[in-house]
Structure formats: structure tokens, C-alpha cells
């Protein structure tokens, strides 16, 4: 039977693409499986992982521990290292055969290469870099009441959407919410006419469930049929290189001290002060785009729209004015402390605590005061 992606009733189950690198599952896989479990329950369907690699069957069961009912495992020597051609072919072929209703992919550098290629081939909708996913209308509306400035009446009326001039009931659609313009605008996207509904999901946003050994033991491993040969590949990966120095883990950090253009009069001194404060807090150092573009810190330190999106317990912004593209990456921090010479800097609009002053003078005092406050506890 030909693949008909508009026959919505023929599609069921929620699938998660489980990315592995060098035979190891990625942290995002567990986040997405955990989130996918909730969505599958809301839809009343199974949650399935899709794992591609070379000899990776052994790592599949762990996914069950976070909520997967089944894991489809595609083992092949040509799937050992990620290539767009091989992965897109196998995934699209398996999807056409097994017809999932929704397909989630981690928005990693690999997921964002793979997702659009598959969606274009399958002729379906893909929502990029989602930060919130819902099926159940009650839960979705509760989310909007809390996270939006929409009027209550507008939210309560969101049961249908106009699709090609007709009213469409959105209660079974996956509502995929994502930021645009660096978080100044949010949008909920649906894919009402085609299946599977596809989303890439921002790493670090969805919460991982506690691991359940019984569920892992019960997880079913299935090996679907697929065909793949050298001639399907138009690219050749000649090497995979791990970054030599240990990269800073901004996404996992509870405390981040970031520096901006304000350190320009003494770059090394400014970074040293930030490092001292970060060390006292038990955190790491980040930087604004200006700092990375100037070569003062390496790219893995960049917070912002084109860098990392972080939500630590405390974010200290030293000499950062707060351009929208920077705020996009840090405005969801639990507590923001800003130090800036300019009292009208936009960073103060979102800071919980602001100090108008010279970071070179304030930072060492702040480090000292925090050390003293911790010692006094």
C-alpha cells in the first residue's frame, strides 16, 4: 500500500529518535523519552524509541526505564557514524512502514540536520527547537494561562483552528510551542493535515523521569526490516574528532557568571574576576556574543540566541548590556544578578538584583561578601 500521510487515522504511537554517539545514548534521549511518555499517555498510545547505530541493541533497554514501551533498533555498519543520507533513508523507510503519529527528535546539531531532511521527504510539518509540547487541551491551556499574556477568554476558545478555510478540532493535535525572536514571541504550532507530526526539542528543557528498572526489563526490542547500501551515501565521514580541551558545561551549570563588553579595558583581569566569583559559587564562566566574537573566550562559553540557552539557579551578568539576542539565552534563569556601569542598560529590566557600578570594583567585593555569607551559615 502506498504511503498516504493524509490518512491520519492510519497513524499511531509516539516515537522518539534516540541519538547515540560512539555507541552511547545522549542525555537528550532520556529527556525526550520522559516527555514522550506523557504525550503517549495523553493520546492513549505506545511510546517507542527509534535507535540507529552499529551493534547498539545492548543500550536500547535503558530507554525503557524512562518510559519507552518499545524500542525499534536498526543496526548496520553504515549507521555507526551519523550521516544524513543513511539516517534519513532508514528513518523515512521505517516511518512509512510503521506510521507513527508523532516523531520527536532532540534539537542537537545532528537532530537539526536530520529532522528537516526527513520532514521534507515525508511531506509533513516539523516544528523546530520546541520548548513545550502538549496534547491534552486542559494541560495546554493551563500552560498558556501561566506562560502567556493572552486573555483568558482567548485561551479558553482555542479548541479549533482555521485550516484551509475550515474549522479544525485541535484536541488530538500535538501543540508544539517554541520561541522566536529570542523568546520575545512564542508560537504554538500544529500540523493538522499530515502525519507524523514532527518536532525537534531543545536539549535541557524537558525533565528526565526517575529510572524504573522494571519498566526497562519489560521494554520490547524490535528490529524492523530496512535496506541500506553504500550507494545510498553521497558523503563520507573521514574522521570524528572530540574537542581536545574539556568544553564548559553551561547547560548543566547551576551557577553561571558571564562577562560582556564591559571587560574590554582589562580583558584578562575581567575574566579572572568572573572565574573567582564562579569558583566561589561553584559555577562556570560564560560570555556574551561580543566577548566570543572578540576571541576573549572560546565559542563554548557563549550564552545567547546564537550560543547556549541556559537556566541556572543564579546568572550573574558582568558588564553585559542585555541585547535581545543575549537575553534570549538567559532570561529564564531563576535569579539574575546584573552589574553594569550604565543604569539604563536593558539587562536591568530582567535582573532580580541590579548593581550600578564598575564590575572591576564590584565583582571582587561581591565574591568576598558571598564567601562571608556562606561561611556565616
Amino acid at each position: 500500500m502506498a504511503f498516504n500521510n493524509t490518512d491520519l487515522a492510519a497513524f499511531k504511537d509516539v516515537w522518539v529518535f534516540c541519538e547515540q554517539r560512539e555507541g552511547k545514548l545522549m542525555p537528550t534521549d532520556f529527556e525526550l523519552i520522559s516527555e514522550g511518555r506523557r504525550l503517549a499517555d495523553e493520546l492513549g498510545v505506545d511510546l517507542c524509541g527509534l535507535l540507529l547505530g552499529d551493534n547498539v541493541e545492548g543500550i536500547a533497554k535503558e530507554l525503557g526505564g524512562y518510559g519507552a514501551d518499545k524500542v525499534y533498533v536498526c543496526d548496520h555498519s553504515l549507521l555507526k557514524v551519523y550521516t544524513t543520507d543513511a539516517y534519513a533513508k532508514v528513518i523515512c523507510d521505517v516511518i512509512e512502514e510503521l506510521k507513527p503519529e508523532a516523531f520527536l527528535i532532540g534539537a542537537t546539531n545532528i537532530g537539526r540536520d536530520l529532522g528537516p531532511r526527513c520532514a521534507a521527504r515525508l511531506h509533513t510539518g516539523l516544528c523546530a527547537d520546541c520548548t513545550h509540547l502538549d496534547v491534552d487541551m486542559g494541560i495546554y491551556k493551563d500552560f498558556l494561562h501561566e506562560a502567556s499574556t493572552l486573555e483568558d477568554a482567548r485561551i479558553d476558545g482555542l479548541n479549533t483552528a482555521m485550516v484551509l478555510g475550515e474549522k479544525h478540532d485541535v484536541s488530538r493535535d500535538l501543540k508544539m510551542t517554541r520561541p522566536a525572536f529570542g523568546g520575545h514571541l512564542m508560537a504554538s504550532i500544529i500540523c493538522p493535515r499530515f502525519r507524523p507530526t514532527m518536532a525537534t526539542v531543545r536539549p535541557g528543557v524537558m525533565k528526565k523521569r526517575p529510572f524504573d528498572q522494571a519498566k526497562a526489563d519489560a521494554c520490547q526490542i524490535i528490529k524492523p526490516k530496512f535496506e541500506l547500501s553504500e550507494s545510498d551515501l553521497n558523503t563520507q565521514v573521514t574522521e570524528v574528532v572530540k574537542a581536545a580541551k574539556k568544553l564548559v558545561d553551561l547547560i548543566g551549570a547551576d551557577f553561571i557568571v558571564s562577562v560582556g563588553r564591559g571587560i574590554s579595558k582589562d580583558v584578562e583581569g575581567g575574566i579572572k574576576l568572573a572565574e573567582e566569583l564562579a569558583a566561589e559559587l561553584g559555577g562556570v564562566v560564560g560570555g556574551s556574543r561580543a566577548v566570543i566574537d572578540s576571541g576573549w573566550l572560546s565559542a563554548d562559553h557563549q550564552v545567547g540566541q546564537t550560543g547556549k540557552t541556559v537556566h541556572p539557579k543564579v546568572y550573574v551578568a558582568l558588564g553585559i548590556s542585555g541585547a535581545i539576542q543575549h537575553k534570549a539565552g538567559m532570561q529564564d534563569s531563576e535569579c539574575i544578578i546584573a552589574v553594569n556601569k550604565n543604569d539604563s542598560a536593558p539587562i536591568f529590566e530582567i535582573a532580580d538584583y541590579g548593581i550600578c557600578g564598575d564590575l572591576f570594583k564590584v565583582t571582587p567585593m561581591l565574591t568576598e561578601a558571598i564567601r562571608a555569607a556562606k561561611a556565616a551559615k
Partner: protein
């Protein structure tokens, strides 16, 4: 050999973003720029031109004023511009956009040895989807997140960035690459370039010009051809401005540390 660079005009988000009361973007009050990653793609193409003498063609989809952006890219050294513009194309999501841009690229023609380049993602939508989707529609191999590009005969070697390192990928032409800012530093327009830019050709591709391409169909372009729909767009609640502390001395810092400790933040 030629390089076709797909570019987008976007509002400048390095300043303040203006949002209308209804939650839509107040585009009129914002400056427009060429999307930053696209500038790296243009620079990569111009470097190949410097090395090999290849032709560089810039393509954009957008309203008629986007021609101004194309002229700026011609002043940097690109040879020809194409502006894909038409009411029929409005309301397109990434899928529909890739259909249309791919049809535009088909019109220009992709041959052995050619490279199509895009920026990784645009700063207005941040989807990073249109590049790979154009590649799929053109049946070209893709390499995304390109941080270094070397041409060696008909092959290209690309350093493709991962979060924790990189891959080196060899790909045959024609192919599509998406470029990131680590790739290069875009050049400025030259005075001579600005002078010449107005004598270089910019061709408008409207619906009539593209309609014979199989990719252009009412069910695959524009709002009607978009698989995704916006259910609702909204602005998040403004985080209330916090507390500006008085002074910037040791007393101020002690007060702040005291509040953080009291709230068990430290």
C-alpha cells in the same frame, strides 16, 4: 562552476525587538539586515571565487525591497542576484519556502561542480530547517554546520561542527552546505564594488517565472501548501523588573549576599 547562495533579509535583533500590542512583531520599527549566518555563506562563496574565479549568485525570497540587500551583496563581490517574490509565496512555512527556493535554484540551474550555500539559521525564526529542506527538494547531499570548506576537484571537504567536537566530511558536488559564523569574517563592500553593484543583473522570479517547475503547486506553496499552522502566537509575561540596589560598595555586596543566603540561593 558556480556557487548559489540563499540569503534572507531579517529584522536586526542586536537592538531592541518591538512587539505590537496584539503579539505580532512590529517589523516596520526595526532595522533590516542580511541574516548573519548568510553573510558567512556569502563570504565563503566569495573566497571560492577569489581562489577559482567561479561565479557567485545570490538568491533571496522576500518582498521587493529585499533587492536592496541583494545589491549590497553584489557590492561585496557577488555576480548576479535573483529575487523570488510573489503574493502566491506569502505565508509559507519552512516546507513551502524550501519548495519555492528550490524551484528558484532549479531555474538558475545546478550542475556538476556547483555548490549551493545557506546560512545555518535565520535569527528571526531560528529554525535551521530551510537549508536541509532545499537540499532534499533538489536531491543534493547536504553538510550542515560548516566551519571550514575546502574544494578539491569535484569534491569538497567540510569541517562539520558538533557540540562536542567536529566531523570531517567529504562530499561530491553538486551539494548544499549550511554555514556558521566560525567559518569566516565577512568582508565589507568596496567602493568600486558599490559602484559596480548597480550595473550587475538582478532578476525577479515571480510565480509566472517558476510555475512550470513541478515543485510549484498550489498544494505545496504559500499558506495553503504549508504543513504547519500557527495555532496561536503570544508574548510571555514580562519578568517584573527586580531590585536596583543602592550604591556599589562593600555594603551593597554584603546586603545582596545576605538576601541570597536568606533565600537559600547560595
Amino acid at each position: 562552476m558556480k556557487v548559489i547562495v540563499c540569503v534572507k533579509q531579517v529584522p536586526d535583533t542586536s537592538g531592541k525587538v518591538a512587539v505590537n500590542p496584539d503579539g505580532t512583531l512590529n517589523r516596520a520599527s526595526m532595522e533590516t539586515i542580511t541574516n548573519p549566518d548568510d553573510m558567512n555563506a556569502v563570504e565563503a562563496a566569495l573566497k571560492l571565487k577569489d581562489e577559482t574565479g567561479c561565479k557567485v549568485i545570490v538568491v533571496t525570497m522576500g518582498p521587493p525591497p529585499a533587492e536592496g540587500m541583494l545589491r549590497e551583496l553584489l557590492a561585496m563581490g557577488a555576480d548576479e542576484g535573483y529575487l523570488i517574490s510573489g503574493r502566491e509565496f506569502g505565508g509559507s512555512d519552512t516546507y513551502a519556502t524550501s519548495q519555492i527556493v528550490a524551484a528558484g535554484v532549479n531555474k538558475i540551474g545546478v550542475e556538476k561542480g556547483d555548490i549551493v550555500m545557506c546560512g545555518r539559521q535565520a535569527i528571526d525564526g531560528d529554525t535551521a530547517q530551510v537549508g536541509p529542506q532545499i537540499a532534499e527538494k533538489l536531491h543534493l547531499p547536504q553538510v550542515t554546520y560548516a566551519a571550514d570548506i575546502h574544494k578539491d576537484g569535484d569534491d569538497i571537504t567540510v569541517k562539520r561542527m558538533l557540540e562536542d567536537g567536529y566531523m570531517t566530511i567529504k562530499v561530491k558536488t553538486p551539494c548544499l552546505l549550511t554555514c556558521i559564523k566560525e567559518l569566516n569574517q565577512p568582508r565589507y563592500m568596496s567602493v568600486g564594488g558599490i559602484f559596480e553593484a548597480y550595473s550587475k543583473p538582478v532578476t525577479v522570479l515571480d510565480y509566472e517565472a517558476l510555475k512550470d517547475d513541478p515543485l510549484i503547486d498550489p498544494t505545496t506553496i504559500g499558506l495553503k501548501g504549508s504543513p504547519t499552522n500557527i495555532l496561536v502566537s503570544f508574548t510571555p509575561p514580562q519578568k517584573g523588573a527586580g531590585m536596583m540596589l543602592e550604591g556599589a560598595d562593600m555594603g551593597t555586596c554584603e546586603k545582596l549576599a545576605g538576601m541570597l543566603a536568606a533565600k537559600h540561593i547560595i
